[in-house]
Symmetry: D2
Subunit: 340 residues, 4 copies
């Protein structure tokens, strides 16, 4: 795991199953954190480790609604509604040598669901177990063919499916939900090296994270990624400046906004409008010129089309857009500089 400037305090936390958080909001904080601290957090996989072989099927092995456990929440000292919570993901490392994916009845993108409801029976359940090869940096599995089998070796590309704060207006949302407070965005853009900006809704922000994915395709088509327990090293900071309308991400190469809504075009619209605002703030362009720039440069990978809300990332490549000033006072670079 990457190391940090020795001046940074690192606090480790591994929750017991009784401490798992199943919601954003509505859960008492596990600990208080001072801005500037690093957290090293262990999180269980979205299945709570209950799918360990291909014979562990979701219908019998899972205990609904207890899925997608979060590690947290953490009370950030000084955070007040309207502020900007800053989380820099220093590193993500698999905490087990296997990950699992599964088909869950009436869940996922290419099946009818309780909302996109049809009269057809569900697809069959199925579980896949991936083996981590740390040396080669891959996750692999064997799949049967009519004669023989095929071995699949996919690059390990760890990400966090879920990071968020307590919602506004006294709401408590399932950890399966992505929305303005972050949550289960399931975007592969949430990888090590990324800084997340979230608007604070309650005193202390009360952020949690979890849902580690050893890798995930864009869209998370079948509803589950290569779900795996994860060790996350995260720098926590706070800005007393207004937080963004939607979760914003910054990497060395991109400014990104993640919109979450249904239908999918609304997830896109919400993130795009905020990206236009952000380009305007960074460059000084007026709204229509910022809209034009976005139109010619944005990269728009689907995040998920399977959760309670769908999520889409709008990415603006830094090299293409001449920013007059850095985002959020340059905090991404400052946090990045603490990583060895």
């Amino acid at each position: 795991m990457r190391s940090l400037d020795p001046a940074v305090e690192v606090v480790e936390f591994t929750p017991t199953p009784e401490q798992y958080a199943w919601t954003f909001g509505g859960t008492a904080p596990l600990a208080r954190v001072r801005p500037g601290t690093a957290l090293k957090l262990w999180s269980d996989d979205a299945f709570c480790g209950r799918l360990r072989s291909v014979t562990d099927l979701p219908g019998t092995a899972l205990r609904m609604p207890f899925v997608n456990p979060q590690t947290g929440p953490f009370f950030v000292e000084g955070a007040e509604p309207g502020d900007t919570l800053v989380l820099h993901v220093v590193d993500l490392e698999p905490a087990r040598d296997w990950g699992a994916s599964a088909l869950i009845p009436f869940f996922g993108g290419l099946t009818s669901t309780d909302r996109t409801a049809t009269l057809q029976p569900p697809l069959p359940e199925r579980t896949w177990i991936y083996h981590l090869d740390s040396a080669r940096g891959t996750v692999g599995l064997d799949l049967p063919l009519e004669s023989g089998h095929v071995h699949l070796d996919l690059p390990l590309e760890p990400m966090l499916g879920t990071v968020g704060v307590a919602p506004a207006a006294g709401e408590v949302r399932s950890a399966l939900v992505p929305d303005v407070f972050g949550g289960n965005m399931d975007t592969p853009e949430l990888r090590a090296g990324t800084t997340v900006y979230l608007r604070v809704n309650v005193e202390g922000a009360l952020f949690s994270l979890g849902d580690g994915h050893f890798r995930q395709g864009e869209g998370e088509s079948c509803g589950t990624a290569v779900e795996g327990a994860m060790n996350s090293l995260v720098l926590v900071d706070l800005l007393k400046t207004p937080g963004p309308a939607w979760p914003r991400l910054e990497s060395d190469t991109h400014w990104t906004v993640v919109g979450s809504a249904r239908p999918l075009e609304d997830a896109w619209r919400a993130g795009q409008v905020d990206a236009v605002s952000w380009i305007g703030e960074l460059t000084g362009l007026d709204t229509l010129d910022a809209y034009q720039v976005l139109s010619q440069v944005s990269q728009v990978p689907l995040a998920n089309a399977v959760d309670v809300n769908y999520s889409v990332a709008t990415k603006v490549p830094k090299r293409l857009v001449p920013a007059g000033r850095p985002a959020y006072d340059g905090i991404h670079d400052r946090l990045r500089a603490l990583v060895r």
Copy 2:
């Protein structure tokens, strides 16, 4: 107000502003209620009575997010997760002699919103005040023309925009949200004479109601109805049989399911699939024949296309569908018989 069989205990409740509930779930019960009791409940209007003249504009007069206050929640004795909560709306009577409607920036159906986001400026704010004429049974207002004005007299058709129980999975939802737990469905079908069936998610069910509308068009296009304080007389009952997947309504003439989701077709699909199930239960038809019957008889008035989820009612006319047995053991007729 209609009266009840004298054997029925009637409990009155008028909340103080401090007692208003802003969410489904997350609020301590106001009182415990035994099944078989009637509640006479006063509820404030969705604007908390703050829009009293056309010069009271939402942006300055409202205190967001404190809108759509609910009266409740009530703990129903004996109610356990999975049960069916039964609420028969005996009567709805305006509790003030005026109602209000308003255009709120970026809220409503014919404007961009925070989700259906565009770069256009919002529509202007505007407030309308309707005067109740109880004798004639109308709500009226004057509207300006280029020369002179026109007087609008609309039939008083009281309904409840919101009725629901605490959600499942530990969630707490804003009273602006409609979903499987009921909530802000905003369907004109929720009028006096209607029995509501809701699946219980938590011990005691914890139901609330509010958001009285003196009348509302189907769709609630501008986002607000003729919002008015309301006296509601409601019979509360409980069935220890499995509650429905989506809120179900029964009147003397129709069985109705209200689906809530986005996009609007998903709200429709969810309610329709449950209506197919219900027709099957009532008639003994197989799924495909029930689907066929639904296809030729269903009436589908839009409820709202403006809330956090959109809502659609699927109505099945009783006279067209030969039911082999009554819905929910005939409780609608039994409760109806208690009304004088």
Copy 3:
């Protein structure tokens, strides 16, 4: 069949199968019609009469894409792009004593489709044959129960699923499509007594009609109504005033706009915005007041959620909205007066 003022010329037309029109646009006119003429048109059912017993299943009996045949097109003398074509539906009478409905694989509202695509197998095919009882005014069929059967008797409520003109911009659209040019709107509002207003896109308008339904539920859930051959008596007229953005209907009681789009909320939005314009034109109210009126009075029955575009009707009750002047110069009443 209702009769007309003897001064009205009535032209009858029954197409041979070779004359069936499968598209709007792209087909040579069957005949020229002078405004003021009445047409008595026979149209085959959407299945071309090929489903005659429950053993005629769509997959084998139909010859795709040859479904939903239209009778037409007709060249209206004097009609130029931008004009308003006026069609008053005098009467609709079943032209056979049976109608058919069917489940077609991956077609309909409560199944996945080629667009709302899933990996689930299709629902089974099934055909239902309804028998017309003219004396009682019903269509009926027997449906099997586990023991015995149930007889369903539904009111005959004839309507036209499809009426439209040639599209703009040189397009040719399948008769299965509803859009701004009308087409396969599948709204039960298109019944006898209704006047249809359509914007003319090409010289002669080139309108067709067909897809008779002996009755249909709102939404046409399974994708097919009680499809039946139909005799339609229609008065044809023309106004040299600008045609509407979307198909408009007028009955003695309602002004109605039918929007067609996906997702369903866009079908609704399109029709609602045009209804606001229409209310403004009729009453002199400004846009926001017209929006307010619409919000409190509109009735919004779903038309279909199964076609290439979904369709929603926005109905404005005349008795609730004080119009300063009649729609389209009062032509609905003038045509109505020709009916005996």
Copy 4:
């Protein structure tokens, strides 16, 4: 421009404005082409070259509906309904030294439109002119700031917005439409080096192409890319094997399917289901295992969220999926080998 194996016949074609095609289907072929031929085609920009300075605004300069002119159609000898038309894009070169982008009233992704209709006024019109710097491989423009201006230099990344065949069922569609026949997909994936597979619907296939973009962001947010006249060098071939359900693309690195529909999730679902089929065909995996593979490897860049249908690309990286046999008999590699 890249050159081809000298054995390949190259036919050049530059249409006169009178020869521009405005639709897919409904237009007589410009020429007949034998499979194995290369076409070198000039196409005008989507604005027909009418926006040449920032003072040329769409509302006055364009002549609706005459936008997005296509070069074609071409009759491919031997092509019959059901076959696979193969188009390998050898090279795309700007045919002018400037490109244009514009805001058109009620058109684009971050404004209300005629379907996503609201009562808000349109955004202002604006035109941007980009200058091509061939040596540096960029397109650039100056944008005003409050004080001074900023210069934007964006990489030239030529692509074709539109390529398609005549639709099925006798339809004729505007060149603004993307659907199963291809058309205005507006995906940056349609660049040089890409092979396009389209199902043939009519004898001769009748394909056209146009809508050159010097570059485009994913989503084409404002509705227009850097629109420019283009020279396209395309190898035309034909396979007498069944054509795909949706347009498929193949590059040296990816198999890609482009789905087009509304809402956006349906565009995604349609392309994803076809990608599952394709993975199954290439690897021999069963449907659910192919679904699992897709879920972990697919890259899903938005194509456009502004056209008549929205388009989404599902990309499957070849290096991650062990294909047992090449796509379409390896024709991509064979055509690629003809390029010098």
